[in-house]
């Protein structure tokens, strides 16, 4: 909509700081982190501003800030580029629209000045009719261009959002788990929801408002000067005052705006936390203290808002004041000039009409400023995410592996985190196809690291991991994941039905195959007891699907995927003893013809392996079939086994 129809005489809408409408749950995640010790350390280690490094902090040095702004602009440029033709067209449309809009008061002036006298003189009204016709044409042109503009701009905006959403989502999915471990899901969600929304808001209302405001300001200014230089100069004389007020507002609001964001985030953090922890809150009678804290935070937020509201509350009447004084001056001076015969009544009327249009868009600038700021912040974060490179990249020219046999070899594999001692100093390991290997060792021995390297969640810092003789880094994602599947303690259940969740292991699987997989690992019984069996919506189980049941679903999923290599990292930890027994029995059959790597707490699970590796500090201490290791009698595994037998007695 144009400047004229969007606000009252005093520009009512701008006063809403755009913040609170869009801050999501995850803003919570973002804040608070900044003041914990570990995050501060983390920040120190990443003094570089590339990627998502700048997200944690409010104070950014000038140079870095310039870098971030350039990066955001680059992203914006990339997003806009495909539409540059349409945008050029849009510019023309906007120009035409504004020309049409601005011409109306001028035509009114011409009509009054030149159309009326002939009629008064009793002559023909043809001139008036012509002018009225022109006003009609202008009005229709304005409507048509406006309509086209809104449609085109809206469609472009939505297309940009779609592209951005797709790009960021896909990028997040490509980034390695290492990144996600650090970044947390809350922030990921926040990027894709509240940040995209911020840009949405800018595209939806901000740009339109700004473009119209700027064009109206410039166009009207020029027109006023053309209409009458003297009066025009009086009107343009208001410019410096407007500029000063706007500058004052921009500075003040940047601060006030940031403060509202901070305070609302604090409210949200407290709110979400106490809601999620309501059981503990009520069990420990924490309610009064919570209420106290909440009311204090809420009041901080109120005060921050109050400050922002009052800034707008001064800005708006300020602009109004300048406008009204200018109108009064133009009125007096114009009347004087009219008496002197230097301007006509029509010019004066047109002037007053234009002046209204002249000051109104100023109000819109305060609105635009808020949207622009939050969109800018969002763009900065999104461009940071897109700049992150997956630490586990896809190969440029992948080696094909149509059917994996499942032979896994680790050659001199080393791994360590950036700032720590090496987890694996250099491991040699060959697992022939079909063998089941159990990893045994104390916490920190490197068991999970081996699992993650074999499933390429991480890449080794030295050496190679080979599947059927091919470096994992040379396999494309689809081939690799078809061949190697890992099940961990983490049993995420997606929305949808139980069947959907199992089908996740192999999207093409039939209902029978799904049921067969569930039966094989002993999940069928509990699923059959659910209200709609396999078609029960997970959300309708009301979170009452226990950890053990989720784990069984995860097992069925992995079984259905039917990989050549199956990696189980503490995958049975949430099961109660009888269920675990069931799974162990099932595993014996399932693992018979595939390569498997098992990490487990309990010795009974280890027992089903063909081969046991005892690890310490990333080195293999013992290696052999469990019976052989036990029979040897002097090793760690033998000790372990003896202790177990003792406990059974």
């Amino acid at each position: 909509m144009t400047s004229t129809d969007q606000q009252t005489q005093d520009g009512e809408w701008p006063e809403e700081p755009a913040t609170h409408r869009r801050v999501g749950v995850d803003e919570a995640t973002r804040r608070g982190e900044a003041d914990s010790g570990s995050e501060a350390d983390w920040r120190e280690q990443h003094a570089d501003w590339r990627g998502v490094a700048a997200e944690q902090t409010d104070e950014i040095p000038a140079k870095a800030s310039l870098f971030l702004r350039r990066r955001s602009r680059r992203l914006l440029g990339e997003l806009v580029r495909p539409f540059r033709r349409t945008i050029a067209l849009l510019v023309l449309i906007v120009l035409a629209e504004n020309a049409a809009r601005l011409s109306i008061p001028y035509l009114v002036k011409v009509g009054i000045d030149n159309g009326i006298p002939p009629i008064v003189a009793g002559e023909s009204a043809a001139y008036l009719f012509t002018v009225v016709g022109l006003v009609m044409v202008a009005a229709l042109t304005q409507a048509a261009t406006r309509w086209t503009f809104l449609l085109l701009a809206g469609r472009i905006g939505q297309s940009i959002l779609l592209t951005l959403r797709r790009r960021v989502f896909n990028h997040f999915q490509r980034l390695s788990t290492q990144f996600h471990d650090r970044y947390t899901s809350g922030r990921t969600i926040s990027r894709l929801t509240s940040d995209v929304d911020a840009i949405d808001e800018l595209l939806e209302s901000g740009f339109d408002g700004l473009v119209t405001a700027v064009l109206t300001l410039l166009g009207t200014g020029v027109l006023l000067l053309v209409l009458d230089v003297k009066l025009g100069l009086v009107a343009v004389g208001a410019f410096p005052f407007l500029w000063l007020i706007t500058r004052w507002f921009r500075r003040g609001s940047a601060k006030a705006y940031r403060r509202t964001r901070e305070t609302v985030a604090a409210v949200i953090v407290h709110f979400v936390e106490s809601m999620n922890g309501m059981r503990a809150v009520q069990a420990f009678r924490r309610e009064p203290r919570n209420q106290q804290i909440f009311e204090r935070l809420d009041d901080d937020y109120r005060l921050a808002n109050l400050r922002a509201f009052r800034l707008v509350g001064m800005f708006t009447p300020g602009v109004k004041l300048v406008g009204n004084i200018t109108i009064a001056v133009v009125l007096v001076y114009g009347s004087y000039l009219a008496i002197e015969g230097e301007v006509t009544v029509g010019v004066l009327a047109a002037f007053l009409l234009y002046l209204r249009q002249f000051f109104e868009p100023m109000q819109e600038i305060s609105q635009f400023y808020n949207t622009f700021q939050s969109a800018g912040a969002a763009l900065e974060k999104l461009s940071g995410v897109l700049e992150e490179e997956p630490s586990v990249p896809e190969p440029a020219s992948p080696t094909p592996l149509p059917v994996a046999r499942g032979e896994v070899r680790l050659e001199g594999v080393a791994f360590g985190y950036v700032d720590g001692p090496p987890v694996l100093p250099g491991l040699e390991l060959a697992v022939p196809a079909g063998q089941t290997v159990a990893l045994v060792g104390a916490t920190g021995a490197g068991k999970t690291t081996i699992a993650k390297l074999m499933s390429r969640f991480y890449d080794p810092t030295g050496g190679r991991v080979l599947l059927d003789g091919i470096d994992l880094r040379d396999l494309d994602e689809d081939t690799l994941r078809r061949a190697v599947v890992m099940v961990t303690q983490e049993n995420y259940v997606f929305s949808g039905t139980i069947a959907d969740n199992i089908r996740f292991g192999r999207p093409a699987a039939s209902r029978e195959e799904i049921a067969a997989a569930a039966r094989a690992i002993g999940a069928h019984d509990f699923i059959a007891q659910l209200p709609d069996g396999y078609e029960t919506e997970v959300s309708n189980t009301g979170g009452r699907l226990s950890a053990g049941q989720r784990q069984l679903v995860a097992f069925a999923r992995a079984f259905l995927a039917d990989p050549a290599v199956l990696i189980l990292d503490e995958a049975t930890s949430s099961l109660d003893v009888p269920s675990e027994r069931l799974v162990q029995r099932a595993l014996r059959t399932i693992l018979a013809d595939r390569t498997a790597l098992i990490i487990a707490h309990r010795l009974s699970t280890v027992e089903i392996a063909d081969r046991v590796l005892v690890l310490e500090h990333g080195r293999v201490l013992e290696d052999g079939p469990p019976q052989v290791l036990i029979a040897r009698g002097d090793g760690r595994f033998a000790d372990l086994h003896r202790a177990w037998l003792d406990s059974l007695a």
């Binding site: 779609l162 059981r279 069990a283 203290r289 109050l306 509201f309 008496i339 009301g542 005892v614 406990s647």
Partner: protein, 594 residues
């Protein structure tokens, strides 16, 4: 937690009644509301009178060529202009205070109500849904009370007055302009209907998309493990494209409507110019009056266009009012009684207790009888999903029994005040909840006055001395937004918290599950001392934990089937043997090697 779960929609449509219930919040600000209305109306009056001054200038001094007469009228215009700005300032200044006051009061009350509501409510409502009510919906209501309501009144007044003025200036032209109101009203209503449909659709699709985003983020490791990036992307893309389609529909609808609202006054202008100029020509109207007429007409553009806006805002506020109403209308179904036990001894009895979740027909527990004398500890053992946690939640009344009763020292827990009951009972949960605050505050949740010695001794019992080694010791911020702790560490803190509360009845809901065998043994050793002075309920998976208890209750098919000592049950009950028997007592490989 899904942010998007759609609540069941109330049968009746949201209307003005949805907001009327909140009128009490306006009451403290009555004075300001009146002031706002008065200043706003005065502002409208002034902005209407400035064109009249112009008319007077054109028809008076200019027509008569009397330069001296310009000054007083000019000064009048100036004074009016300054006054208008002053009134706007005044209104906004007070309005900010009132409107934010209303919002803050509503939010505080909402929070208080949410704290009163029971676990039954909180498990049903994802916190994202509650949050969106506390933020998005509240600002919708604030916007309406602050601006929408005011301008609904003012714009209507302004429209009426302006049209009245026009009719006064020139009857036929005035009526002509008034005639344009008809198509506007009709089309606005139609737009309103269509718009509310489409924006609800957009909202729902945004919710679906948010779910896809959430799953993509939270389930990233599973997605990677199965290489299902494309599968997940497709489902995301499907939703994103749906949203795109609806958003474009929305754009199309509003483009049409906004253009329409704009073109109508312009068409009015065309007619006014035509007939006005003719009227001036015939001498029925002065040139000044025509200018004033046109200025007034242009001033109508905003109020007309804004009506659509304001009505949409009102609709939004009413929906928000309904959404808030859903919470304010939820009555806490667990309220305290008025009995206080001065010196509780801690005798706990379950008398024929039955329990089912409110929205399910199936009983989780039935006919549960259990008597625990002061100082005695009972272990509750059962398979996954057998209702152990539900049983323990009945004691501090996180849930209420659906039949039978739970008594403490012979008094039904429902007769005790909640404060008293929850001081007597402390629970350490399996999934420990830590808040983003200092370790100290987390520990003293149930006992704000605990001394440093008391804290130390509780921390030692729970083997949680690691808190003293945190960067800032007890003052280190931990919890969800703070320093991350391992599952075992969190459990130990939660245990220390429960111990620190010095309850007469201590409930341990599988509190030790994430501890390694070694630490577990140490904790159990220390716990024995605490449990000597308290009545204990211990939910257990491992035999070692069961040994903390004096007797064991076996929960089977929703009821306690056997009570006895660990050895008795091992000997006599095959099911128990299967659950906790020696052959199940597996060795923890990791621990032995550590």
């Amino acid at each position: 937690m899904s942010l998007t779960t759609e609540r069941e929609h109330p049968a009746r449509r949201s209307g003005i009644h949805s907001l009327w219930r909140f009128r009490a919040y306006l009451r403290p600000h009555r004075g300001v509301m009146v002031l706002m209305l008065v200043t706003a109306l005065a502002g409208v009056g002034i902005s209407l009178s400035i064109p009249l001054v112009t008319a007077a200038l054109i028809d008076g001094p200019i027509a008569d060529g009397e330069a001296w007469a310009i000054v007083p009228l000019g000064l009048l215009a100036l004074a009016l202009g300054v006054l208008e700005a002053g009134l706007i300032f005044l209104r906004r200044w007070f309005q900010a205070n009132a409107v934010l006051g209303i919002e803050t009061a509503l939010r505080d009350d909402l929070y208080a109500r949410l704290q009163e509501l029971t676990m039954e409510f909180h498990t049903r409502w994802p916190s994202g849904q509650l949050l969106s009510r506390a933020t998005v919906d509240l600002s919708a209501i604030r916007r309406f009370f602050g601006f929408g309501l005011l301008f609904l009144v003012i714009n209507t007044v302004q429209l009426a007055v302006t049209i009245g003025l026009m009719i006064h200036l020139h009857l036929p032209l005035g009526i002509l302009v008034a005639g344009f109101a008809l198509p506007i009203i009709v089309l606005t209503r139609r737009f309103q209907r269509e718009y509310s449909l489409i924006s609800r659709r957009v909202q729902e699709e945004q919710g679906d998309l948010a779910t896809a985003i959430e799953e993509g983020a939270v389930g990233i490791r599973v997605i990677k493990a199965f290489g299902r990036r494309r599968h997940v992307y497709d489902s995301f893309d499907d939703k994103a494209r749906k949203l795109y389609g609806s958003s474009v529909d929305k754009v199309r609808l509003s483009a049409r409507f906004w253009t329409f609202l704009e073109v109508i006054p312009n068409l009015g202008l065309v007619l006014v110019l035509l007939f006005g100029a003719l009227a001036v020509g015939r001498g029925e109207l002065t040139a000044g009056a025509l200018v004033a007429f046109i200025t007034l007409l242009l001033q109508l553009i905003w109020p007309v266009a804004a009506l659509g806006f304001i009505l949409a805002m009102a609709q939004e506020a009413m929906t928000a009012g309904d959404r808030l109403g859903e919470i304010f209308d939820s009555v806490p179904d667990i309220v305290g009684g008025d009995v206080e036990l001065e010196r509780p001894r801690g005798r706990l009895r379950f008398e024929g207790v039955g329990f089912r979740f409110p929205d399910s027909a199936e009983e989780v527990l039935h006919d549960v009888h259990l008597d625990v004398v002061p100082g005695e500890t009972v272990a509750v053992v059962g398979a996954t999903g057998s209702g152990k946690t539900a049983l323990t939640a009945l004691v501090p009344r996180l849930y209420d029994v659906t039949s039978g009763r739970v008594t403490i020292d012979g008094v039904d827990v429902r007769e005790l005040t909640l404060a008293n009951l929850r001081a007597i009972v402390a629970t350490a949960f399996e999934e420990p909840t830590l808040f983003s605050m200092s370790a100290r505050e987390n520990l003293t949740l149930g006992s704000p006055d605990a001394t440093d010695e008391e804290i130390r001794s509780a921390v030692e019992i729970a083997q949680a001395a690691f808190v003293y080694d945190l960067p800032w010791g007890l003052d280190t911020r931990i919890g969800e937004q703070g320093l991350s702790l391992s599952g075992g560490q969190r459990q130990r803190l939660a245990l220390a918290r429960a111990v620190l509360a010095r309850p007469k009845i201590l409930v341990l809901d599988d509190t030790l599950s994430a501890l390694d065998v070694h630490t577990e043994a140490l904790v159990e050793e220390a716990l024995r001392r605490v449990l000597r002075d308290a009545t204990g309920i211990v939910v257990a998976h491992r035999a070692s934990t069961v040994l903390l208890a004096d007797k064991v209750a076996l929960l089977q098919d929703g009821t306690i089937s056997h009570v006895g000592t660990h050895h008795e049950l091992l000997r006599d009950v095959p099911v128990y043997r299967e659950l906790l028997g020696q052959d199940a007592e597996d060795l923890d490989v990791e621990e032995v090697l550590q």
